[in-house]
Point group: C2
C-alpha cells in the first residue's frame, strides 16, 4: 500500500468569495521520515468541515489563517505505518491532523489511538469527534434545552445539526430541523425530528411559523442568511442562540445591500432578553469531553443517535467536495477516502 510518493494539496492562493480550483495546488512530495517519538501515518479519511473556509482567509478568525503554500489543514483518521514511539505500533488506527495529504508524520503524543471494536474508525472525525462534540457542548452548555421546550436547528442534515436535533429529543425537547431539499427533510423525519422543513421552499418562513406554535426557545445556528431571518421573529423571551457557524456568509466578500438591520437585531436581543453566544468546541473540551464520549457511545448503541456519512473517494476530489460542502450539496458527514479502510 505504501509508495514512495506523498500526494498533498496546498493552499495556492486565497479565495475572493467562493473558493475555486485555482486556490488549490496538488503536488507529490517524498514521504516524510518520522523522528524520535514520532509516527509515520497513512491517511484513511480526511474530514472536510465548513470551518476550513474561514482559515483560507488572511483574516483573524477563531483560528490562525492557513499559511499560503502549506498543506491544507484538517482532521484525519490514519493508520500507523512506522512508529518511533512505544505507545503506538504499525497497524494501529489514530485520530490525527495530517491535513489534505496521503501521508504525514506526527508526534505520537499528538494523536489519539482508536479502538475499531468500539465504533467505526470514521466516527472519530464525525459523531464521536469534533462535529458530534460541537453539537453536544453547544446545545447542552449554551442552548440548555429544557423538557418541553422547542429547539430549532439549521443545517439539520449535517453532522452537527443532526446530532443537535437528536440530542434535543433525548433531553425531552421538541426538535424542528431545517435542511435543503426533500431527501434531507425525509431523513430528518426518519431520525425522529418532530418537524422537518425545507428552507428552499417558497413558503419556508410560514412553514417555520406553523411548526413552532409555542415559539423557539433554542436556535442552534449553523447557517445565517434567510433561515436566520425567519427564525429571529419566532424567538421567545429568554431564547438561547448558540452560534456555531454561518455557512451562508462564508463566501461573502462584502456586506449585503441595506437597509442596515444590525440595530434591529440588537433591539430584538434587548427586548426579548435573548442570549446569543458564539463558540467553538475547544473551550468545552476540558469539562465535557469525557461525558460526551460516554453519552454519545451509549446513544449510538441504543439507536437514539444516528448518523450519516458522505464518503468521496480520492484526495484529488477534495476541492470539488469542499465547494459542495459550502453550498449544501453533500448529505451527511463529508469524508474524503484518501486510502483503504482495512476495518470495512
Amino acid at each position: 500500500m505504501t509508495t514512495n510518493e506523498n500526494t498533498r494539496i496546498l493552499l495556492a492562493s486565497r479565495p475572493h468569495g467562493e473558493p475555486t480550483h485555482d486556490n488549490f495546488q496538488i503536488e507529490t512530495a517524498p514521504i516524510p521520515e518520522p523522528g524520535d517519538g514520532e509516527v509515520l501515518l497513512r491517511t484513511i479519511y480526511l474530514s472536510l468541515d465548513p470551518y476550513m473556509r474561514g482559515r483560507m482567509n488572511d483574516a483573524k478568525s477563531y483560528a490562525d489563517p492557513q499559511e499560503l503554500g502549506a498543506v491544507m489543514q484538517g482532521g484525519t483518521v490514519a493508520e500507523v505505518i512506522e512508529s518511533h514511539d512505544d505507545s503506538l505500533a504499525p497497524g494501529d488506527f489514530v485520530l490525527s491532523h495530517l491535513g489534505w495529504q496521503a501521508y504525514g508524520v506526527q508526534p505520537a503524543k499528538h494523536v489519539r489511538k482508536l479502538d475499531p471494536e468500539r465504533a467505526p474508525i470514521s466516527t472519530a472525525v464525525g459523531v464521536l469527534g469534533m462535529p458530534g462534540f460541537t453539537a453536544y457542548a453547544g446545545l447542552l452548555e449554551i442552548g440548555k434545552p429544557q423538557p418541553g421546550e422547542t429547539v430549532v436547528v439549521a443545517a439539520a442534515a449535517g453532522p452537527v445539526g443532526s446530532a443537535v436535533g437528536q440530542i434535543a429529543r433525548i433531553k425531552g425537547a421538541r426538535a424542528v430541523g431545517i435542511a435543503g431539499g426533500a431527501e434531507k427533510v425525509a431523513w430528518l423525519t426518519e431520525l425522529g425530528f418532530d418537524v422537518a422543513l425545507d428552507h428552499r421552499s417558497p413558503t419556508f418562513a410560514r412553514d417555520l411559523k406553523a411548526a413552532v406554535p409555542d415559539g423557539i426557545d433554542v436556535y442552534f445556528e449553523n447557517v445565517g442568511g434567510h433561515v436566520w431571518d425567519a427564525v429571529l421573529p419566532r424567538l421567545n423571551t429568554y431564547a438561547r442562540v448558540p452560534i456555531c457557524g454561518l455557512v451562508a456568509h462564508y463566501n461573502e466578500t462584502e456586506a449585503p445591500a441595506g437597509p442596515d438591520r444590525s440595530a434591529r437585531l440588537m433591539t430584538s436581543i434587548l427586548t426579548k432578553s435573548i442570549t446569543m453566544r458564539g463558540f467553538i468546541q475547544n473551550e468545552f473540551v476540558k469539562g465535557h469531553y469525557r461525558s460526551f464520549q460516554n453519552d454519545v457511545a451509549t446513544w449510538i448503541a441504543s439507536g437514539d443517535l444516528r448518523y450519516k456519512e458522505d464518503i468521496v473517494a480520492g484526495l484529488e476530489n477534495a476541492p470539488e467536495a469542499f465547494f459542495g460542502l459550502l453550498t449544501g450539496k453533500n448529505f451527511g458527514k463529508l469524508l474524503i477516502q484518501v486510502g483503504d479502510d482495512p476495518t470495512r
Copy 2:
C-alpha cells in the same frame, strides 16, 4: 399641601420617531379616594427613564405598551396622605408606581415603605432602586467582570452607567466610561473611572482604541449607534455584552441605510465567542435584590459608590425633560420634583 385637584399627564398619541408635546396631554382630575387596603399618595419624585420611550409605541416590547389616554406610567417616591391599611400611616414615604401625576391610590401591598434615615428617599428610584439594580445585576450576573479585566460602559454618566463603572472597579476591573460632553467626562474621572471618553469627539473611535490596550472583556450596552460601532472591533474573545438599552435607536422609525451589517455582527459573535445578552432587571430580582440593597448601601456609606441627581421642578416640565433624556441632555438620574420633599 393637599388640594382637591390632581394634575396628571396622559399619553395622547403615539410618537412617530422623536416624541413631541403633542403626544402628551396635561389635565386635572379629582383626587381619587382610597378603598380598603389602599393608600392615597402624594407624589414627591417621579422617575424618568429611557424605557418609557419603548412603552409609548404600540409594539410588543419587554413591557406591555402604555395605553392611549391613560396616565403615563412611572416609578415614584410618594408620601402617604391617607391610609386604609394597617401597614402604613400618613407621613410615611413609599416607593410606588403612580406614574406622571401628583396624587394616586395604590394597594398598600404594592408599595414599599422607605426609611429616610437610611438613605435619601429619592435614591429609591435611583442608585438604590431600579437603575442601580439594573447596573448591579447586569454587570455581575451577565458581565461577570474578573479582576484585571477591562469593562467599558456607555452612557456612563447616567444612573445605570455610573454605577456599572464604579461597581466594576470595586470588583477589581478596569473601568472605561463613555459619555457625551466635557462636563460628564470630568465627573467620570472624579468618580474614579480609569479612563473617561467623550463620544462626541471626532477622534472617539481612536480614543477608545488607545484606552483599551488589552481589548474589552465586558461592554455594558446602554446606547448602540456609533458607540457600539467603535466598541465591537475591540471586543476580546469570550467578551460579554449585557444589553440594557439602546437609547440611540429608540426614536428610529426605520432601519438606517445599508449596507446591511447584521451578518457581520453575527460573524463577530461567532469568531470571537462573544456572549450578547439582553435583559431587564426584573428577572434577577428574586435571587439578587437583597444582596444588591446590602452591597450598594455599604458602598454608598464607604464612598466607593457615588451618584448624581438631576432634579427638574414641576410635573408640567416632565415631557420636555423626557425629550432631553432621550438625547443625553440631562446629567445624573433624572427626577421630576412633583411635590415638596419634607426630608430635605
